[in-house]
Protein backbone atom coordinates (compact mmCIF):
# COMPACT_ATOMS: atom_id res chain seq x y z
CA UNK A 1 0.00 0.00 0.00
CA UNK A 2 1.42 3.38 -0.94
CA UNK A 3 0.67 6.66 0.78
CA UNK A 4 -1.54 7.79 -2.11
CA UNK A 5 -4.82 9.47 -1.22
CA UNK A 6 -7.40 7.96 -3.55
CA UNK A 7 -10.29 9.74 -5.22
CA UNK A 8 -12.98 8.34 -7.50
CA UNK A 9 -10.87 9.04 -10.60
CA UNK A 10 -8.01 6.88 -9.29
CA UNK A 11 -9.99 3.64 -9.55
CA UNK A 12 -10.27 1.62 -12.74
CA UNK A 13 -11.84 -1.79 -13.31
CA UNK A 14 -9.34 -4.61 -12.90
CA UNK A 15 -7.14 -2.88 -10.28
CA UNK A 16 -6.21 -5.22 -7.46
CA UNK A 17 -5.15 -4.54 -3.87
CA UNK A 18 -4.19 -6.89 -1.05
CA UNK A 19 -4.32 -5.99 2.63
CA UNK A 20 -5.11 -7.07 6.16
CA UNK A 21 -3.83 -9.42 8.82
CA UNK A 22 -6.68 -9.87 11.29
CA UNK A 23 -6.13 -12.37 14.07
CA UNK A 24 -9.44 -13.90 15.07
CA UNK A 25 -9.75 -14.80 18.75
CA UNK A 26 -12.26 -16.94 20.58
CA UNK A 27 -12.92 -14.07 22.98
CA UNK A 28 -13.80 -11.68 20.17
CA UNK A 29 -16.02 -14.24 18.40
CA UNK A 30 -18.01 -14.77 21.61
CA UNK A 31 -18.10 -11.06 22.48
CA UNK A 32 -19.48 -10.07 19.06
CA UNK A 33 -22.01 -12.92 19.15
CA UNK A 34 -23.17 -12.02 22.67
CA UNK A 35 -23.96 -8.50 21.50
CA UNK A 36 -25.31 -9.09 18.00
CA UNK A 37 -25.79 -12.77 17.13
CA UNK A 38 -26.38 -14.81 20.31
CA UNK A 39 -26.73 -18.25 18.76
CA UNK A 40 -25.10 -21.27 20.44
CA UNK A 41 -22.77 -22.13 17.50
CA UNK A 42 -21.18 -18.65 17.77
CA UNK A 43 -20.79 -18.78 21.58
CA UNK A 44 -20.11 -22.32 22.68
CA UNK A 45 -17.57 -24.83 21.32
CA UNK A 46 -19.67 -27.88 22.05
CA UNK A 47 -22.79 -26.37 20.42
CA UNK A 48 -20.61 -25.39 17.46
CA UNK A 49 -19.39 -28.98 17.08
CA UNK A 50 -22.97 -30.27 17.02
CA UNK A 51 -24.03 -27.69 14.40
CA UNK A 52 -23.61 -27.70 10.62
CA UNK A 53 -20.53 -25.48 11.21
CA UNK A 54 -18.64 -28.31 12.91
CA UNK A 55 -17.09 -26.12 15.62
CA UNK A 56 -17.19 -22.66 17.16
CA UNK A 57 -17.40 -20.17 14.30
CA UNK A 58 -17.71 -16.39 14.01
CA UNK A 59 -21.04 -14.80 13.09
CA UNK A 60 -21.10 -13.97 9.39
CA UNK A 61 -21.86 -10.37 10.34
CA UNK A 62 -18.70 -10.42 12.45
CA UNK A 63 -16.73 -11.59 9.40
CA UNK A 64 -18.13 -8.59 7.49
CA UNK A 65 -17.21 -6.27 10.37
CA UNK A 66 -13.66 -7.66 10.51
CA UNK A 67 -13.44 -7.17 6.74
CA UNK A 68 -14.56 -3.57 7.19
CA UNK A 69 -11.87 -3.04 9.83
CA UNK A 70 -9.16 -4.37 7.51
CA UNK A 71 -10.48 -2.20 4.69
CA UNK A 72 -10.63 0.82 7.01
CA UNK A 73 -7.10 0.39 8.32
CA UNK A 74 -5.57 -0.17 4.90
CA UNK A 75 -7.74 1.93 2.74
CA UNK A 76 -10.82 3.84 3.80
CA UNK A 77 -8.93 6.57 5.63
CA UNK A 78 -6.61 7.03 2.64
CA UNK A 79 -9.60 7.36 0.35
CA UNK A 80 -12.09 10.17 -0.10
CA UNK A 81 -14.73 7.75 1.18
CA UNK A 82 -18.22 8.90 2.01
CA UNK A 83 -19.40 5.56 3.31
CA UNK A 84 -21.20 2.75 1.54
CA UNK A 85 -24.51 2.75 -0.25
CA UNK A 86 -24.75 -1.01 0.08
CA UNK A 87 -23.51 -4.52 -0.63
CA UNK A 88 -24.62 -6.25 -3.81
CA UNK A 89 -23.85 -9.73 -2.58
CA UNK A 90 -22.16 -11.43 0.34
CA UNK A 91 -21.31 -15.12 0.43
CA UNK A 92 -20.22 -16.78 3.66
CA UNK A 93 -18.34 -19.75 2.25
CA UNK A 94 -16.44 -21.37 5.12
CA UNK A 95 -16.53 -21.05 8.92
CA UNK A 96 -14.12 -18.51 10.47
CA UNK A 97 -12.62 -19.93 13.65
CA UNK A 98 -10.44 -18.88 16.59
CA UNK A 99 -6.81 -18.72 15.47
CA UNK A 100 -7.64 -17.81 11.86
CA UNK A 101 -5.69 -14.90 10.39
CA UNK A 102 -7.73 -13.10 7.74
CA UNK A 103 -6.68 -11.01 4.76
CA UNK A 104 -8.48 -9.45 1.79
CA UNK A 105 -7.78 -9.52 -1.91
CA UNK A 106 -9.75 -6.66 -3.40
CA UNK A 107 -10.56 -5.98 -7.05
CA UNK A 108 -12.21 -2.95 -8.63
CA UNK A 109 -15.12 -4.43 -10.60
CA UNK A 110 -16.67 -1.27 -12.02
CA UNK A 111 -16.93 2.49 -11.51
CA UNK A 112 -20.24 4.31 -11.77
CA UNK A 113 -21.12 7.98 -12.12
CA UNK A 114 -24.30 9.16 -10.40
CA UNK A 115 -26.56 11.86 -11.80
CA UNK A 116 -27.89 12.58 -8.31
CA UNK A 117 -24.44 13.17 -6.72
CA UNK A 118 -22.24 15.06 -9.20
CA UNK A 119 -19.16 15.35 -6.95
CA UNK A 120 -18.77 11.62 -6.19
CA UNK A 121 -19.18 8.19 -7.76
CA UNK A 122 -19.63 4.56 -6.82
CA UNK A 123 -16.63 2.22 -7.01
CA UNK A 124 -17.74 -1.40 -6.95
CA UNK A 125 -15.17 -3.44 -4.99
CA UNK A 126 -15.09 -7.19 -4.65
CA UNK A 127 -13.48 -8.42 -1.44
CA UNK A 128 -12.31 -12.01 -1.39
CA UNK A 129 -11.59 -12.77 2.28
CA UNK A 130 -9.15 -15.58 3.04
CA UNK A 131 -7.81 -17.25 6.13
CA UNK A 132 -4.39 -18.94 6.09
CA UNK A 133 -5.82 -21.94 4.19
CA UNK A 134 -8.73 -20.97 1.97
CA UNK A 135 -11.29 -18.38 0.94
CA UNK A 136 -13.92 -17.86 3.65
CA UNK A 137 -16.13 -15.09 2.23
CA UNK A 138 -16.78 -12.88 -0.77
CA UNK A 139 -18.50 -9.47 -0.75
CA UNK A 140 -19.32 -6.99 -3.48
CA UNK A 141 -19.45 -3.53 -1.92
CA UNK A 142 -20.68 -0.21 -3.26
CA UNK A 143 -18.82 2.66 -1.55
CA UNK A 144 -19.40 6.29 -2.51
CA UNK A 145 -16.08 8.05 -3.18
CA UNK A 146 -15.57 11.78 -3.77
CA UNK A 147 -14.13 13.08 -7.01
CA UNK A 148 -10.93 15.09 -6.99
CA UNK A 149 -11.56 18.66 -5.87
CA UNK A 150 -14.97 17.85 -4.41
Amino acid sequence: MTSTFYHFEDFRPGQRFGFGQYEVTKEEIIEFAAEFDPQPHHMDEEAGRRSILGGLAASGWHVCAMGMRMFGDAFANQTASRGGVGVEECRWMKPVRPGDVLHIEMEVVETRILKSIPDAGIVKFRWDIFNQREQVASLTLLPLISKRGA
Binding site: D37, A65, N77, G84, G86, E89, C90
Partner: protein, 154 residues
Amino acid sequence: MWFEEIELGVKRTIGSHKFTQDEIIAFGKKYDPQPFHVDPVAAKRSSYGGIIASGWHTVAIWMRLMIEFQKSLGPEAWRGGVSPGFEDLRWIKPVRPGMTLTYSTETIEKIDLKSRPELGLIKSRNEARDAHGMLYMSFVGKGFIPRKPAGEAS
Protein backbone atom coordinates in the same frame (compact mmCIF):
# COMPACT_ATOMS: atom_id res chain seq x y z
CA MET B 1 -40.55 -24.09 12.77
CA TRP B 2 -39.75 -26.50 9.94
CA PHE B 3 -39.06 -25.36 6.36
CA GLU B 4 -42.47 -26.77 5.33
CA GLU B 5 -44.29 -24.57 7.85
CA ILE B 6 -42.78 -21.23 6.84
CA GLU B 7 -45.31 -18.93 5.16
CA LEU B 8 -44.50 -16.69 2.24
CA GLY B 9 -45.53 -13.05 2.13
CA VAL B 10 -46.21 -12.40 5.82
CA LYS B 11 -44.34 -9.30 7.02
CA ARG B 12 -43.53 -9.39 10.72
CA THR B 13 -42.16 -6.63 12.94
CA ILE B 14 -39.25 -8.12 14.89
CA GLY B 15 -38.41 -5.19 17.19
CA SER B 16 -37.04 -1.67 17.53
CA HIS B 17 -33.70 -0.21 18.52
CA LYS B 18 -32.67 3.28 19.63
CA PHE B 19 -29.14 4.14 18.49
CA THR B 20 -27.13 6.14 21.04
CA GLN B 21 -24.07 8.21 20.14
CA ASP B 22 -21.94 6.16 22.55
CA GLU B 23 -22.77 2.81 20.97
CA ILE B 24 -22.41 4.20 17.42
CA ILE B 25 -18.89 5.45 18.28
CA ALA B 26 -18.00 2.22 20.14
CA PHE B 27 -18.96 0.08 17.14
CA GLY B 28 -17.17 2.46 14.77
CA LYS B 29 -13.94 2.42 16.82
CA LYS B 30 -13.93 -1.35 16.81
CA TYR B 31 -14.90 -2.13 13.23
CA ASP B 32 -15.40 0.94 11.03
CA PRO B 33 -13.19 3.83 12.18
CA GLN B 34 -14.07 6.34 9.46
CA PRO B 35 -14.25 9.93 10.81
CA PHE B 36 -18.04 10.24 10.37
CA HIS B 37 -18.57 7.13 12.56
CA VAL B 38 -16.12 7.91 15.40
CA ASP B 39 -15.23 11.61 15.62
CA PRO B 40 -18.04 14.11 16.33
CA VAL B 41 -15.93 17.12 15.28
CA ALA B 42 -14.73 15.60 11.99
CA ALA B 43 -18.24 14.23 11.39
CA LYS B 44 -19.67 17.76 11.62
CA ARG B 45 -17.36 18.85 8.79
CA SER B 46 -18.19 15.80 6.66
CA SER B 47 -20.95 15.62 4.05
CA TYR B 48 -23.18 14.01 6.71
CA GLY B 49 -22.98 17.01 9.08
CA GLY B 50 -22.66 14.80 12.17
CA ILE B 51 -22.00 11.31 13.50
CA ILE B 52 -23.79 8.46 11.69
CA ALA B 53 -23.87 4.75 12.48
CA SER B 54 -21.77 2.29 10.49
CA GLY B 55 -24.01 0.42 8.08
CA TRP B 56 -22.61 -2.80 9.54
CA HIS B 57 -23.92 -1.67 12.92
CA THR B 58 -27.47 -1.08 11.61
CA VAL B 59 -27.52 -4.54 10.07
CA ALA B 60 -25.93 -6.26 13.12
CA ILE B 61 -28.81 -4.87 15.19
CA TRP B 62 -31.21 -6.61 12.76
CA MET B 63 -29.51 -9.90 13.58
CA ARG B 64 -29.90 -9.41 17.32
CA LEU B 65 -33.55 -8.40 17.05
CA MET B 66 -34.23 -11.38 14.76
CA ILE B 67 -32.80 -13.82 17.31
CA GLU B 68 -34.71 -12.19 20.19
CA PHE B 69 -37.91 -12.31 18.11
CA GLN B 70 -37.44 -15.99 17.27
CA LYS B 71 -36.68 -16.84 20.89
CA SER B 72 -39.85 -15.00 21.97
CA LEU B 73 -41.90 -17.37 19.80
CA GLY B 74 -40.76 -20.37 21.86
CA PRO B 75 -38.10 -23.07 21.58
CA GLU B 76 -39.69 -24.73 18.52
CA ALA B 77 -39.70 -21.55 16.44
CA TRP B 78 -35.98 -21.26 15.70
CA ARG B 79 -34.41 -24.24 14.01
CA GLY B 80 -32.34 -22.30 11.52
CA GLY B 81 -29.42 -20.10 12.23
CA VAL B 82 -26.88 -20.82 9.52
CA SER B 83 -26.80 -18.62 6.45
CA PRO B 84 -24.82 -18.82 3.19
CA GLY B 85 -24.95 -15.03 2.79
CA PHE B 86 -27.18 -12.16 1.70
CA GLU B 87 -27.98 -9.98 -1.31
CA ASP B 88 -28.91 -6.41 -2.14
CA LEU B 89 -28.05 -4.75 1.16
CA ARG B 90 -28.92 -1.06 0.90
CA TRP B 91 -27.92 1.65 3.33
CA ILE B 92 -30.50 4.18 2.20
CA LYS B 93 -30.35 7.00 4.74
CA PRO B 94 -27.83 7.90 7.43
CA VAL B 95 -28.73 6.61 10.91
CA ARG B 96 -28.01 9.31 13.51
CA PRO B 97 -27.70 9.28 17.31
CA GLY B 98 -31.08 9.25 19.09
CA MET B 99 -32.95 7.66 16.18
CA THR B 100 -35.15 4.64 16.73
CA LEU B 101 -35.51 2.14 13.88
CA THR B 102 -38.14 -0.58 13.69
CA TYR B 103 -37.11 -3.75 11.89
CA SER B 104 -39.23 -6.21 9.92
CA THR B 105 -38.79 -9.51 8.08
CA GLU B 106 -40.80 -11.31 5.40
CA THR B 107 -40.05 -14.65 3.73
CA ILE B 108 -40.16 -14.03 -0.03
CA GLU B 109 -38.88 -17.31 -1.49
CA LYS B 110 -38.48 -20.97 -0.49
CA ILE B 111 -35.94 -22.99 -2.42
CA ASP B 112 -35.49 -26.78 -2.40
CA LEU B 113 -31.88 -27.95 -2.13
CA LYS B 114 -30.99 -31.05 -4.12
CA SER B 115 -27.58 -31.26 -2.49
CA ARG B 116 -28.97 -31.14 1.07
CA PRO B 117 -32.34 -32.91 1.23
CA GLU B 118 -32.62 -32.34 5.00
CA LEU B 119 -32.59 -28.55 4.55
CA GLY B 120 -34.42 -25.88 2.60
CA LEU B 121 -33.20 -22.38 1.75
CA ILE B 122 -35.38 -19.37 2.47
CA LYS B 123 -34.91 -15.82 1.25
CA SER B 124 -36.29 -12.98 3.36
CA ARG B 125 -36.73 -9.26 2.76
CA ASN B 126 -35.61 -7.35 5.83
CA GLU B 127 -36.15 -3.67 6.47
CA ALA B 128 -35.46 -0.94 9.04
CA ARG B 129 -37.77 2.09 9.11
CA ASP B 130 -38.13 5.16 11.32
CA ALA B 131 -41.29 6.25 13.16
CA HIS B 132 -42.57 7.95 9.98
CA GLY B 133 -42.18 4.78 7.93
CA MET B 134 -39.13 6.06 6.02
CA LEU B 135 -36.91 3.23 4.83
CA TYR B 136 -33.30 3.39 6.15
CA MET B 137 -31.91 -0.08 5.44
CA SER B 138 -33.00 -3.19 3.55
CA PHE B 139 -31.50 -6.47 2.43
CA VAL B 140 -32.42 -9.94 1.22
CA GLY B 141 -31.26 -12.52 3.75
CA LYS B 142 -30.77 -16.23 3.16
CA GLY B 143 -31.11 -19.00 5.70
CA PHE B 144 -30.90 -22.78 5.80
CA ILE B 145 -33.95 -24.20 7.59
CA PRO B 146 -34.32 -27.89 8.53
CA ARG B 147 -37.11 -29.87 6.86
CA LYS B 148 -39.54 -31.85 8.92
CA PRO B 149 -38.16 -35.38 9.35
CA ALA B 150 -40.43 -38.13 7.99
CA GLY B 151 -42.92 -39.23 10.64
CA GLU B 152 -42.54 -36.07 12.77
CA ALA B 153 -45.84 -34.63 13.99
CA SER B 154 -46.37 -30.96 13.10
